[in-house]
């Protein structure tokens, strides 16, 4: 009875009122995030320019495509993690899930399970890890940092156990799986599409669009931002907090599993330690992309650009001859630089001051 007339009038067929130029208020979008995207694009551009000047091999089409292909698994994991960070939770187990999903899929497949079913089992592994993370966090009530630290170890241990610490390469296994199954296996991650585009790039682009749509254009995403922005208020508004967080944990685990399986397919082998080195770059990509670890803020395009920046640095630095130690230093500096820049722009745009003022008002009047 509060406002049935409001929603009635708001129906477009009832002639939605033209209320002047509404600037679409993108969910969680703000000038600071727009600045972040512009800044990231510039950073990637400048990095590419510098690498090209130092060594023109960097700018070869083949290499640029390789940069995007190599970032795809990082990007896929970062997409899921962005959802989770927006809703105010963390997942440290993404790297371990990546390794476990690939290894388990490979093992059951080589044990005679047909490939499509093995693939489903692999993806299901990711969903299962996400489910356990969600159960520990939401059911038992642990902080997600602790819960996922635990599942990280369990998943890593399981991977080593089922693989006996050996890497596997299905094509060379005895007995080798049937030809058609091997064909399917390499098709999902190693196909070259027209214009010499690797299929992993397509996976990333398609899923980035889908996840971006979910986060920025769906009711689900809208509520993720609300829950992450103010859990208390979300509870007071009776939003489905637990259910939405649960789904997000599962999505995050599933995307990590998919990334592991696609890399397995591309490399046609997987290593029990695969993925363990991916955890920090994944977080770095999300944070560089503008998400706030305290929740309520994040941007899919930012995350993708963050992953691109990291991969550009890694690839470019190795082309110009900086070793892996030096690469780590640069990547670390990039993380600190991006976040410092963000603080600076936020302070200048008054966002921080406004928030502080808001608290002051509440506390003292």
């Amino acid at each position: 009875m509060a406002s049935p007339e409001v929603s009635a009038q708001a129906r477009p067929d009832a002639g939605a009122p033209e209320v002047g130029p509404i600037r679409a208020t993108r969910v969680g979008g703000s000038t600071a995030l727009v600045a972040r995207v512009v800044g990231l694009t510039f950073s990637v551009g400048i990095a590419m320019l510098v690498f090209t000047i130092i060594n023109s091999n960097f700018a070869r089409t083949g290499n640029l495509i390789e940069v995007v292909r190599a970032m795809s698994s990082l990007g896929l994991m970062a997409l899921g993690l962005t959802l989770l960070i927006v809703v105010g939770e963390l997942d440290l187990s993404v790297g371990a899930t990546y390794g476990l999903a690939a290894m388990l899929m490979g093992k059951v497949w080589l044990a005679g399970v047909p490939f499509p079913l093995a693939l489903a089992i692999g993806l299901g592994t990711g969903a299962a890890v996400g489910f356990v993370n969600a159960a520990l966090t939401l059911g038992v009530g642990m902080p997600s940092f602790i819960a996922t630290l635990a599942t990280l170890n369990v998943a890593q241990g399981l991977t080593l156990w089922i693989s006996n610490a050996q890497s596997i390469a299905p094509a060379f296994a005895t007995p080798a799986p049937p030809k058609w199954q091997l064909g399917w296996f390499s098709a999902i991650g190693a196909t070259i599409l027209p214009f010499t585009i690797p299929i992993q790039v397509a996976w990333l682009v398609v899923l980035a669009v889908v996840v971006g749509y979910v986060l920025h254009r769906s009711l689900f995403g809208f509520r993720l931002f609300a829950i992450g922005g103010n859990l208390e208020a979300a509870r007071a508004a009776k939003l489905p907090v637990t259910r939405y967080k649960f789904v997000t944990f599962v999505l995050c685990g599933t995307l990590a599993a998919l990334a592991g399986i696609l890399d397995f397919s591309f490399l046609s082998s997987t290593d029990p330690n695969a993925g363990s080195s991916l955890l920090f770059p994944v977080f770095a990509a999300v944070v560089i992309g503008g998400a706030s670890l305290s929740g309520g803020r994040g941007l899919i395009i930012g995350t993708v650009l963050g992953a691109l920046l990291l991969e550009t640095l890694t690839n470019g630095l190795s082309i110009i001859g900086v070793g892996s130690y030096g690469q780590l230093i640069f990547v670390g500096a990039a993380i600190a630089g991006a976040v410092a820049l963000d603080r600076w722009t936020a302070a200048r745009s008054g966002g921080v001051r406004r928030l502080v003022g808001w608290r002051l008002k509440r506390d003292s009047v």
Partner: protein, 494 residues
Amino acid sequence: MATETRLRLTISEVTRTFGDTHALRGISLAAFGGEVLGVAGPNGAGKTTLMRIIAGEDSADSGTIALDDAPLSEADASRLVSVVHQEVQLFPNLTVADNLVVQRDGSATSRRPRPGRTELAMLKELGIDRYARSELGTCSLVVQQLTEIARVLLHEDAAKIFLFDEPNSALTDAESRELFARVVKLKEEGKIVVLVTHRLRELVEHADRVVVIRDGLCAATLEKGTLSEPAVARELVVGAAAESDVRLQGPARQAKWEWSVERWTHPSRVFADVGLGVRAGEIVGIVGVEGSGARELLRSLAGVEHASGRVHFRDGTTKQARIGFLPAERTHSLFPNFSVARNLTSRLGRGDIASGLGRLRVRRLNGIAEQLRERFHVRCRSVAQLVTGLSGGNQQKVAIAAALAARPTLLVLEEPTRGVDVGAKSEIYRLLGGFAQTGGAVVALCTEVPEVFELCNRVVVVDEGRIRADLDVGAFPDVTALAERLATLTESAV
């Protein structure tokens, strides 16, 4: 003992502004050693701000604070002023005893301070010595408040000014008596004691003089001779309610409950066996001092706090989803990362702002937001603006509009106008009245009598976990009469 050289705290022309809210508008008052100065005032009058400024926790925009003619600097204040805060400001991760020594002087290389005999004696005196080794955060609110009091009392030798800001909101009567015995002792030692409280009986019993603060100014001073509960109650509501306002007619007493609870009991019996109902079109106020169970009762009605008992909707359903809830603090009701539009529509779902499949309809969302903004008179540059940029009153209107947009049958509000200026207050009352007139039911926790008078059709007084009275607000000719009646009701309990 301190007759000739009585301490004197002089506050003159102090102002303090937060954004566009004038918390203090040039307040002047004096407090003397050897007396207890009571401070009363409606919420948002500036009491807490004034206490914070005296304690050096906040600084005035203009005006001076002097102790015996010498200006009181912030450094002096931290040494000379001791505060028992309304909300305990201690370290929840330390033990009760360690909390008493944590502020002890020393350099970084000093030995770890250990609670000594004095600290333990103080804890014993306040009756909480058996909690000395318990982590403060795990203790009850009572123990926390007593720890804060112990900390302040231990500071006694150095400090000359003691500020008690609602010191006993969580204490039982026996504990309160203990506390006030200490207060009297401080006064007899010649210290300056300032007591801020909502409990009028305590002001009358323990204060030598009471100043009433309204709208950031000292509105009245009541000396011992004129000091009485009704007198303070009258001063608190002067000019608060416009008599000319046409008051809404509530539904008839015989009308059926839209929604009701029976034998409604809190798990730790903060309230027990409460029966309460709301009719369609009615606004019911719940009043009761902190610790009476009123707040818990209200929150349990909204389903955000546990309670057991029987719940009835008129149409036989028990759907929680039809109850809208708005917490007191805007930090618990708004999304600071969202624009005004997103906040306004945050409680809507499929059919309103999203398609059946869950696709967000941004244009419709903005259209609804624009209409809500107009209907609820939210003043902002654009609905695309961040909600944190709005004034307190407008933020509250956004929160209420968001709750009403979800079309609840029953709206439960915890202090609907906390931290809101006068103009926005009456607008909020009008909006809620409008909701009731279209058949909505409202329950609101009120902490101010004028709010009950202006907003509610009926008021329920909660005391010690029971409903003490159920009054028709319309039966009172003016706000003063209501204030006097409520003052006698809440205080007669003991």
